[in-house]
Symmetry: C2
Subunit: 248 residues, 2 copies
Amino acid sequence: MTRGIQKDVPIPLYYQLKEILKERIKSGDLETGQFIPSERELGETYDISRPTVRQAINELVTEGFLRKQHGRGTYVAKKKISQWFLENLTSFSEEMAQKGLHYSTTVLKNKVVGINSTLEEMFGEEYREFYLLERLRYVNDEPYVIVTTYIPVALAEGMDEEDLEKNSLYKTLEKNYRLQIGYADRIIEASTVSGEDAEYLAVDSTSAIQLIKTKGYLENDNIFEYSIARYRGDLSNFTVRVPYKSNS
Amino acid sequence: MTRGIQKDVPIPLYYQLKEILKERIKSGDLETGQFIPSERELGETYDISRPTVRQAINELVTEGFLRKQHGRGTYVAKKKISQWFLENLTSFSEEMAQKGLHYSTTVLKNKVVGINSTLEEMFGEEYREFYLLERLRYVNDEPYVIVTTYIPVALAEGMDEEDLEKNSLYKTLEKNYRLQIGYADRIIEASTVSGEDAEYLAVDSTSAIQLIKTKGYLENDNIFEYSIARYRGDLSNFTVRVPYKSNS
DNA sequence: AAGTGGTCTAGACCACTAT
DNA sequence: TAGTGGTCTAGACCACTTG
């Protein structure tokens, strides 16, 4: 049943091995805490060299699937906590699908606005007009988060609402507008809900909300997106796993 | 001036190269956006093989110091944003020192408590007694955060307040109690301040606070610490940089 | 002593970017 | 076309853990 590695396809061997190992973990073939075959053994099994095996394993270690112990071996890490978008730049829809939650979206605002001081601080003076998109998202039919997104018109000329509903925003920008997305900075703050948001989120005016501001950058380090998300504090939490580094 | 690489010391070559490159970045020798020498060139300069150079560079890329462009080269990334403890398991004192902020600490509680349902959920049934330490921290003479920490007595028998004030908690556990710290999960939530906390933090009773719960784990995946931090929402924010991965 | 992961070499060929 | 990073091989020796 173990899928083999194909050498005649343009997929890197180490990547194929990663997928195989992830699959074996997900299927339960390799259980939590169980030691996986040694690097040399995996190399023989799949007929690839040890450095290539190591590349696959090391990436899985940094991704949190495996853990190593010098002199003992490599074992499957404890099941990863439900990790939110604080570690991966995934879209809301992907996140919800992965968690198996039902969600829906209402568009509150969708227009083009001129520059203001906040936008100028974020994007600099290069752009003068921005798409403003404000969406209210429900999870299991409860209001969950309001997200306001700004994108320079120049980067996504002609983008319409359909683009944003069918695929995720990032996929649209990548495929239709050929933007090479690089990374994002997320700024996390706790705040009290604003009057307008309180109504949409169906909470009273003293409720706490989790603010998450996102600055999206392209591969070339130019900013392409700024968004402000307001999550209901009583419904949301976010988890990050941080490694310990004893050396400086 | 460029420090060379020493082959007769028990420090890995790739690690020495990492330090050299970081130093060259910090000193301004390699500036932001500037392309660094190619992998082959670095190998010749420091007389090490290309795979070894690649190991150094790849780690610096994942640490955010460098960025690569296939076919073009490797360049120095934009200066990293002030990154909070959401990416590294550093102590409050280290964090403040790095930011050059003045801080102080008051111990609110310091006692041993028996197990309860929350602690049992966190630590399991193995431990029956826990150190409870509650500290109020001031930054620039303003109340900033209250942190409540639980540690099983069995793991740090005889730990006293001095241990906790002089060095950081983690350093104490590592050095005096020989615990091998592995990683931590941080759970982030927004909430409204509790009555008791409101007084200490000097905010009114409807204020928002940033809750950050930390579960600390040892190398062997056993939990050794549970803490709940309440940050003043108006004074704190936390930043994370997340990479974009187009493939699943 | 045997097996494991950690480090390192000296090549090779490919895919991508620039000119 | 030349130079870059991306992938891969087939070894080698070391440090660490366990029997």
